[in-house]
Symmetry: C2
Subunit: 176 residues, 2 copies
């Protein structure tokens, strides 16, 4: 038996449904509830009529702690965690207030992921793994392993990437 392959999994928009959280926060702040398909092809906060307001949500205490979990992700990550060496890799360094919230969020929703498997970074250029599942081309482009673009509204119009639209498709590819 060779050693296990390594998978690096992004948090925001991959494990954590940040788009839905933006919609909820914006709705609660303004009374304007957009639909997810209205975010397609636009930068995360830029999709909103008041982009400046939306851009501030990520600095509000509780934003990352209360984000909904992405549908189907828990069971698939649990199975991946048995077959692969799994790392959760989040570009959390941009929002230092999010460190503890993200750590606690992972402990709640993915209790089988140990602290040894968590990475908070700024750039992902320093990450080495066999696979990277991420919603941002800027993270995938420098990666030397297999790049897997997880579909999010902001990247939905991009072409040229191997795309995973949901966690069922992750399962089909990596556990099938």
């Amino acid at each position: 038996m060779g050693k296990k392959e390594t998978i690096a999994i992004d948090m925001d928009n991959v494990l954590a449904d940040v788009s839905s959280q933006f919609l909820r926060y914006y709705g609660e702040a303004t009374g304007i509830y957009l639909r997810k398909d209205e975010l397609i092809g636009k930068g995360e906060s830029e999709a909103f009529p008041d982009a400046k307001l939306a851009g501030r949500f990520v600095f509000q205490p509780g934003f990352f702690r209360s984000v909904p979990i992405m549908e189907g992700s828990r069971d698939v990550v649990r199975q991946l965690n048995e077959r692969y060496e799994v790392f959760i890799v989040s570009a959390a360094m941009e929002f230092p207030n999010s460190f503890v919230e993200k750590y606690d969020w992972l402990a709640e929703h993915f209790p089988f992921i140990s602290w040894q498997q968590i990475v908070f970074c700024g750039s992902k250029r320093i990450i080495k793994a066999d696979y990277l599942i991420d919603d941002y081309p800027k993270n995938l482009d420098f990666f030397e392993g297999e790049k897997l673009l997880f579909t999010a509204p902001h990247n939905q119009l991009l072409t040229g990437y191997k795309r995973l639209n949901n966690w069922q498709e992750v399962s089909d590819l990596l556990l099938g």
Copy 2:
């Protein structure tokens, strides 16, 4: 011109003089001030008569925020930062209370290091770089680039590693 080589630099006992901080905290708590050479060859907290007490210091608010900077490190890292792609990589995930303290400490002592260059992880097995400067064999052993053991009391009796005893020696090797 090729692209810059990458250096990953550990924080504790490399940039941050954690051994001195242990000595200080232990002295203030017990009145017993050990010398650094009394720590040689022993685990960080195990070197102290009351190892359990010493082991709790890292959970005290302020421990990582007030740690002294390692002599000579600032100037050498500043120069490395011009010639190489530098990442500061700390196994902070073991002590979630330390995230913000370590982030703020870096901002104070190494203001030329941007958030894009900081990585807080559990295991360093996922780190890819040309060089890793670290005081722990467990971090170096899985690393695929050049492993550089930075001397700390706990590793001083180990053999079999390329050793850097201080920041002058880092400068000689990587900037000479």
